[in-house]
């Protein structure tokens, strides 16, 4: 619905929009999370089945190298960035007086 060129909060949504909105309903995010975890398990199992013929770094010949690298690097990166680096360099948004 248009009001003065703006969409009102109860605007008419496309089918895709309705579907996406429905995924935010209570209970739905949990289904998506479970599907994601199941997919990860499947990928990890497949990692055992498919051999890496050309390991580049030595350790990547092991089956769980890449899952461990992805998880470990992700956890360390987020922790170091948000808990160590940002508290040191964080300033108010208008620190330079540009805004």
């Amino acid at each position: 619905m248009m009001m003065n060129g703006k969409m009102s909060p109860d605007e008419k949504k496309s089918l895709l929009g309705q579907f996406l909105d429905a995924q935010l309903a209570p209970g739905r995010p949990r289904i998506w999370r479970n599907a994601f975890l199941a997919l990860l398990a499947a990928i990890a199992v497949l990692g055992i089945a498919v051999p890496n013929h050309h390991p580049h770094f030595g350790y990547d010949a092991y089956h769980f190298f890449w899952p461990a690298f992805g998880l470990g690097a992700g956890l360390v990166l987020i922790f170091v960035v948000k808990k160590i680096i940002q508290p040191i360099i964080k300033k108010p948004e208008d620190h330079y007086g540009d805004l």
Partner: protein
């Protein structure tokens, strides 16, 4: 500019920029904006290799149309991107914004086809001017200040390049623009390298980018994210392949960019830091310098221009519609802007190197090339950056803007997004997917065809490796989603040092130099002005009595000219820049068409 087997892609952009102010105001002129990109696509795909346009000027031979496999692959993606970018901008009525974009793209193509450093320098500077306007024309105080900083910084970078190319000319007697042997490099080559590194946003010279790009116009930043840094990647690939320092610098860039992107709150600044990171892959590939990594750098530049343009389009569309680009103010927009979200995700998965999308066939080539060249730390650094890329662009940004990261912001009024913006986004989405599914579309244009067969992206292991890396970094995000939640903040970066230098210069000018100037003015006022006044009275009498008597009205004419010159000196940077472009173009038009 155009012969039977050559068309310079800059030509129509330059002509359109020149005639645009004079076209009638019924807005039908907008459709003409699509002609230069179409002509550029024709030229970029059809030009035969060789030197096509040489001009003798001041005893030098300027080579404006140097076409080879390397320049061609960049010219092709520049042309495609210019079409998508101008379609995305078609709703904009402000002719000044279109002119700035057209001149900027003119400069980009000019750099790609430059066969000598003088030609390169002229187009290099044209890009700086065009892009400064794309930031300034956002017309907020914040943007004008950012544009001023951006321009000052790029002038400094341009001066490094100019000093380097002139000193190089003294040493070698040539302005030829070609590969430089790192073993025989001189200080002049390092100056040129430094000038290129400013535009490539090599850390620590990078801070202009996340300062300016988030403050550009919605459509202007779409152009800027594609051309400046990738032109720099191209010139680095042409002049500095195999320079080891670039392999290290590129890896540092790749990791540095994701670190800053992971803490940012501003959507377009997150993407800006990811330009630094992604250009790092290309710079590292150039530094390693094997055929495979140079191919990887070119392929990644191609893919990057498409998906990064799409990312800036989608976040620009959110900014256009919702009026903000800050993640802490957005939330749950997926249902309200579903197609923007879909296009954004195509680009986000592309930049992350997810199978099916074009980043998967370009990024992996550079990493595999680095690993095969036994640059283990470079390859591992790039893999680490891939984890951070997926976490910040593939998950954090959409989680907090589109999905359930925060309660949906249903009260925010959304401005309808024009159809042309969707068309621009759809075009790039299709290309990102097509290149991922059919890598041959991209690989057949790579500069070193003999090395293309050494890398096959679509193998079971490569797909699985990407899924394992990205899937489990997704798990890390899920576990840490509350830690990574964005908040309003400014994160200090190297621009702190740039501003320090700026403040030091202002202090120098406003205190010691101003004091010296004050004393000098006093002395001048007491002694010089009185003397001059006396001389002036004398010459005025002579002028009236003698000169105007001989040449009727010359004094009046000179006075009029003086008043006009005074009008032009109004102290406004944008007027000076505009005048500079016009005069520069007039000089070049004279030589291009006159000789």
């Amino acid at each position: 500019m155009a012969t039977s087997d050559f068309y310079h892609p800059s030509l129509a952009f330059l002509m359109m920029a020149a005639v645009l102010p004079f076209l009638p105001g019924n807005r039908r002129w907008k459709w003409l904006l699509l002609l230069p990109p179409l002509a550029a696509i024709y030229g970029a795909f059809g030009n035969a290799p060789g030197d096509h346009l040489t001009i003798s000027w001041l005893g030098q031979t300027l080579r404006l149309g140097h076409v080879d496999a390397l320049s061609q692959v960049f010219a092709q993606v520049f042309a495609v991107m210019s079409l998508a970018g101008l379609i995305f901008s078609l709703h904009v009525n402000d002719k000044a914004q279109h002119m700035a974009a057209l001149l900027y793209v003119t400069g980009g193509f000019g750099c790609l086809l430059a066969g000598d450093y003088l030609t390169l320098f002229v187009f290099w500077e044209l890009m700086s001017i065009g892009s400064a306007f794309l930031v300034m024309l956002n017309r907020t105080r914040e943007s004008v200040l950012a544009a001023f900083r951006y321009f000052l910084y790029h002038v400094a970078g341009g001066l490094l390049l100019l000093a380097g190319l002139l000193l190089r000319y003294r040493l070698t007697g040539s302005f030829e623009f070609g590969p430089i042997d790192p073993a025989a490099a001189t200080y002049a080559d390092y100056l040129i390298l430094a000038g290129f590194c400013v535009n490539a946003a090599v850390v620590p010279l990078h801070a202009w980018l996340p300062d300016a790009y988030p403050r550009g116009t919605v459509t202007g930043s779409v152009f800027m994210c594609a051309y400046t840094t990738k032109t720099a990647v191209y010139v680095l690939a042409r002049a500095f392949p195999g320079w080891d320092v670039l392999a290290v610098a590129g890896t540092v860039m790749a990791v540095y960019g994701v670190v800053y992107a992971s803490m940012e709150n501003n959507a377009r600044r997150i993407l800006s830091y990811h330009i630094v990171s992604q250009v790092g892959y290309m710079v590292a590939g150039i530094g390693v310098g094997t055929y495979m990594t140079l191919n990887g750098a070119s392929a990644h530049a191609y893919a990057h221009i498409l998906y990064k343009g799409l990312l800036f389009m989608a976040t620009g569309a959110v900014l256009y519609s919702a009026g903000t680009q800050k993640l802490d103010e957005l939330g749950g927009l997926a249902g309200r802007l579903p197609w923007v979200m879909v296009c954004y995700m195509v680009a986000a998965l592309s930049i992350s190197g997810m199978p099916l999308f074009n980043g998967f066939v370009s990024k992996t080539m550079t990493i595999a090339g680095a690993a095969e060249a036994h640059r283990t730390l470079v390859a591992l650094g790039l893999e680490l950056a891939a984890v951070g890329t997926f976490i910040s662009v593939g998950l954090k940004l959409p989680y907090f803007a589109f999905w359930g990261g925060k309660p949906p912001d249903r009260a925010r009024e959304l401005r309808p997004i024009p159809a042309n913006m969707y068309v621009g986004m759809a075009l790039l989405s299709i290309l990102c997917l097509a290149q991922g599914l059919y890598p041959e579309m991209l690989y057949r244009f790579l500069p070193f065809q003999e090395a293309v067969g050494h890398f096959v992206p679509w193998t079971a292991w490569n797909v699985l490796q990407a899924l394992m890396l990205l899937g489990f970094s997704g798990l890390a995000f899920y576990l840490m989603r509350k830690v990574i939640a964005p908040h309003k903040a400014l994160n200090l970066d190297f621009d702190w040092f740039y501003r320090l230098v700026g403040r030091a210069v202002i202090f120098l000018v406003s205190r010691p130099l101003a004091a010296i100037d004050g004393v000098w003015t006093l002395v001048w006022d007491k002694v010089g002005v009185r003397t001059l006044r006396g001389l002036g009275l004398l010459s005025s009498w002579f002028d009236r009595a003698a000169i105007d008597g001989v040449v009727d009205g010359s004094a009046k004419g000179v006075k009029g000219l003086g008043s006009l010159a005074a009008l032009l000196q109004n102290g406004r940077l944008q007027h000076y820049l505009g005048l500079m472009v016009v005069l520069g173009l007039l000089v070049f038009a004279f030589f291009w068409y006159g000789l």
